[in-house]
């Protein structure tokens, strides 16, 4: 049950697997495969047993209820990015444009040991866990801590490279000791975990209260990178003040703007066609006028009011213009091959115009070198080159 469902590539869907079922872009559901269960959509039910054994990525088709049509889902293996998309939007989420930039900027790799506070929805935790050596996540809200712990266990993260701790880091700092509410497993006589973090991510309302606690848990012999994630500019200002005070350097503040575009088509409606359509209308109208003129000439009633009125209300149905190059009136499906189309992009109708300001800073605690070691290496090199 605690397989590393995120980080190990799987070929076939197996009993007990956590899958993400893609119904539509806005409807991606985490589902644990259990052969006696079914996955229900409003189009119909998909028995798990029909899914188990198929390769990941399989489209599953059923006949829809009461009709002869088909309904589809796709069964995917979870990834941190798909997981993020599956979360309800009301949750506070660090989205992929931000998380991916932060990871790249802080050079995340298997070499990284990461501190994250707070855990929040856990979306960023998953992305970190996929890519780094170890993740120490801190969450101050007890209920959220419990939920995240449970989720991380189910996703195999706790057994792999993630530690989560219940803590208000602004008050209590980052040291993890025996007796704390934490997933950390102390080995033998160990009384405190050794974090040695070289990457720090603070998604806190008051990061300036947490920054002073960092020195005791970050790596001392290498450059450590820090990112504070703050929605308001005043938070940035206060963060900058504290960063300077505590010796963090190379400060950079940025915003990340992510945009998503839909691929669409617009009908190509040429001037010539528009002109031809107008000519057609004019022709029919003139025919109508002439016919009325004939009627008018043959009638005794010299008041042309009635006939003129018809003219104002529009020419009779039978005379309606026939030339219809743009399929006006009938709804045309975008891309209909009877028409010419131009490919266009359309940005989402509601864009995430701001998430947070990202303040980066770096620190090297121990700025010395081991002169003895350097000399030894040099001697051995020089000896070699003399040989």
């Amino acid at each position: 049950m605690t397989a590393r469902c995120f980080s190990d590539y799987k070929d076939l869907i197996e009993e007990g697997d956590l899958t993400l079922i893609w119904v539509s872009r806005d409807n991606i559901k985490p589902v644990r495969m259990q052969s006696e269960e079914t996955f229900n959509t409003r189009y119909g039910s998909f028995p798990h047993k029909d899914i188990i054994g198929k390769p990941y990525g399989s489209q599953i088709a059923i006949r829809t209820k009461g009709s002869n049509k088909f309904a589809f889902i796709h069964v995917l293996q979870p990834t941190p990015e798909l997981w993020t998309l599956s979360l309800p939007h009301r949750t506070q989420i660090v989205y992929t444009p931000d998380s991916s930039y932060i990871m790249q900027k802080l050079n995340c790799s298997p070499h990284s040991k990461v501190i994250e506070a707070g855990t929040g929805s856990g979306s960023f935790s998953h992305a970190f866990a996929r890519s780094v050596g170890h993740l120490f996540s801190f969450e101050f809200h007890h209920v959220r801590y419990e939920q995240a712990l449970e989720e991380f266990k189910e996703h195999g993260l706790i057994d792999d490279n993630v530690t989560i701790t219940h803590r208000d880091v602004c008050q209590g700092g980052f040291t993890i000791e025996k007796g704390d509410t934490t997933s950390y497993e102390f080995i033998n006589d160990e009384t405190a975990a050794s974090l040695n973090a070289n990457v720090v991510f603070l998604d806190l309302p008051a990061p300036w209260d947490a920054i002073p606690h960092l020195d005791s848990v970050i790596a001392t012999e290498e450059k450590v990178g820090l990112c504070c994630f703050s929605p308001c500019i005043e938070q940035v200002d206060k963060t900058l003040e504290v960063l300077e005070k505590y010796g963090w350097a190379d400060v950079e503040m940025v915003e990340i703007q992510g945009r998503q575009y839909e691929s669409r088509r617009q009908m190509v409606r040429s001037l010539d066609d528009a002109m031809e359509r107008l000519r057609d209308i004019k022709r029919h109208k003139l025919q109508g006028v002439e016919r009325r003129k004939r009627m008018f000439d043959n009638t005794i009633d010299t008041s042309d009011e009635k006939i003129e009125k018809r003219n104002e209300d529009g020419i009779p149905l039978t005379e309606k213009a026939k030339f219809n190059p743009f399929g006006k009136g009938s709804r045309i499906k975008e891309g209909d091959s009877n028409y010419k189309w131009k490919e266009v992009t359309k940005v989402e109708s509601e864009i995430k115009s701001h998430t947070s300001y990202l303040t980066f800073a770096f620190k090297v605690i121990n700025k010395c070198r081991d002169e003895e070691q350097v000399n030894e290496i040099l001697q051995s090199i020089n000896k070699k080159s003399k040989d």
């Binding site: 190990d8 590539y9 893609w22 119904v23 872009r25 959509t41 390769p55 990525g57 399989s58 489209q59 088909f70 309904a71 589809f72 796709h74 069964v75 990834t79 941190p80 990015e81 998380s99 991916s100 930039y101 990871m103 790249q104 900027k105 050079n107 995340c108 790799s109 298997p110 070499h111 990284s112 992305a127 996929r130 890519s131 790596a219 012999e221 290498e222 450059k223 940035v236 200002d237 900058l240 003040e241 400060v251 950079e252 940025v254 915003e255 990340i256 703007q257 992510g258 945009r259 998503q260 575009y261 839909e262 691929s263 490919e343 090297v364 700025k367 070198r369 350097v374 040099l378 090199i381």
Partner: protein, 461 residues
């Protein structure tokens, strides 16, 4: 020493200069490195320090003889100085290029006045400052050059420059700082040594103006590509890289963290359109040749889509029994082993092109994407991501439409990500006034396996 965190011999590192430019250097023992107008230093003097530190170059009064040093390249007689760690404050400078417009609120000005300015008078506004151009500065360029010859420290030079500026006291504190920063960038002699990460290599290429060569890539687009591609240490990735190896380096750094000792089994298979793959930029990587050979394989488009059969291979070469091969002599032996290598490569091509399915497809090419991507994607496992980088949105749009009408691809999306840097000086916070345009776009989708049932009109999506 740990080469990932510590400055080590025979490593490529990136050096950041006061001008905000970058330089890549290789740290050969017992050599010196020249930074042009910013001075020169001994490699041995910086070995063993952690990355990220800033060193100042200084000169003792006597010891400015530089030419005796053994250095392979001819030098313009830039004197080699000694280095010492620079105190931190100098590093945090204005990071905006042109900020003439942003006169800060008076009340916040005092906070951020540089040390150099604390004893200088300044004006509340620029009202009395008339543009005198270079006339206001009484020092001639010759005199300044003279000072540099005399190996004065940059601080001393800058102090003299300030004293020689006629209307310096007429400038606002803000203008004074700007002037100072400009001068510092010109005369300061310090440098920062950083690990040559993929992002730093990209930054170096952008600074060098090699933007077209790397398809106008940005750090943010690459970071997003790595995450959307779900790149992991043990994955096998199919890749087209028209950036000379930069994309491959991004993948490697994410997968292996620069660690030659990494036990991860991930592979990158690079498909190229020319006879040979161009991965030139990997020469800057600190991975060993052996490590690269083990984790990066290159196959031409032709060999990938029309791989040789075992028969064809064996027609051209069949290995001898080991004893026979060992018994060969001289040219014959060399020739044999060359052919054996060819043979093994061909067998590997067969392995990587047959029924093998990849864990992701990552593409950065100027070939026509709608013809290339669906073909390559045939070799991608279901549920695995396909991420395509493109300099232009229009080419990805065409690709997205093609993939959209193909049931093997789930939800192709076109994404853009842009990083907007700020001037991060307190009291003067604002986005940088100018920045590089471009940065490209991404197409992201997942490979899926259409259901075998006949497909009618109604779909859930």
């Amino acid at each position: 020493m740990e080469p990932l965190t510590t400055i080590d011999f025979n490593q490529h590192v990136i050096v950041r200069l006061p001008s905000k430019n970058y330089k890549i250097v290789e740290l050969k023992p017992n050599t010196s490195i020249s930074l042009g107008k910013f001075g020169a230093f001994e490699v041995n003097d910086i070995i063993g320090y952690p990355f990220g530190l800033t060193f100042e170059i200084f000169y003792d009064n006597e010891d400015s003889t530089a030419v005796e040093k053994t250095d392979s390249k001819p030098k313009n007689k830039i004197p080699i100085g000694k280095v010492r760690l620079l105190s931190q404050e100098v590093e945090d400078e204005s990071n905006d290029k042109d900020d003439s417009h942003s006169e800060p609120p008076l009340s916040t000005k005092e906070k951020s006045v540089s040390v150099e300015l604390s004893n200088i008078n300044s004006s509340a506004t620029n009202q009395n400052l008339v543009n005198m151009g270079s006339k206001a500065q009484e020092l001639t360029i010759g005199e300044i050059e003279q000072m540099k010859q005399e190996s004065l420290s940059s601080k001393e030079i800058i102090d003299k420059i300030i004293k020689s500026h006629k209307s310096f006291h007429n400038k606002t504190v803000y203008s004074q700082e700007k002037y100072l920063n400009r001068k510092k960038q010109k005369f300061a002699k310090y440098f920062t040594v950083e690990y040559l990460s993929s992002s730093n290599l990209l930054q170096f290429l952008i600074d060098k103006g090699d933007i077209q060569r790397i398809l106008d890539m940005s750090q943010e687009s690459m970071g997003m590509l790595l995450n959307l591609g779900n790149i992991q240490p043990n994955g096998n990735y199919l890749c087209m890289d028209e950036t000379g190896g930069l994309l491959v380096y991004f993948l490697m750094e994410r997968m292996f963290g620069g660690d030659n000792e990494s036990k991860s089994k991930g592979k990158i298979v690079v498909i190229h359109e020319n006879e040979h793959a161009n991965l030139d930029l990997l020469k800057f990587a600190n991975y060993s040749e052996k490590f690269i050979k083990e984790h990066v394989h290159t196959i031409s488009l032709l060999d990938f889509f029309e791989p040789p059969t075992l028969e064809e291979i064996q027609e051209r070469f069949t290995p001898l029994p080991k004893e026979e091969a060992r018994a060969l002599k001289g040219g014959k032996k060399n020739s044999y082993y060359r052919r054996l290598r060819w043979y093994n490569t061909q067998l590997q091509v067969m392995d990587l092109t047959g029924k093998f399915l990849y864990d992701g497809l990552v593409v950065a090419t100027t070939l026509h994407l709608p013809t290339v991507v669906p073909k390559l994607a045939e070799k991608v496992h279901g549920s695995r991501p396909i991420v395509c980088y493109g300099q232009f949105k229009e080419t990805l749009l065409e690709l997205a439409h093609t993939l959209y009408s193909d049931l093997r691809f789930l939800a192709p999306s076109i994404l853009e990500v842009r990083c907007r840097p700020y001037q991060s000086i307190r009291g003067k916070l604002h986005p940088l006034m100018t920045m590089k345009g471009g940065g490209g776009y991404l197409m992201w989708c997942h490979k899926v396996i259409p259901a075998p049932e006949p497909i009618s009109e109604a779909t859930v999506e």
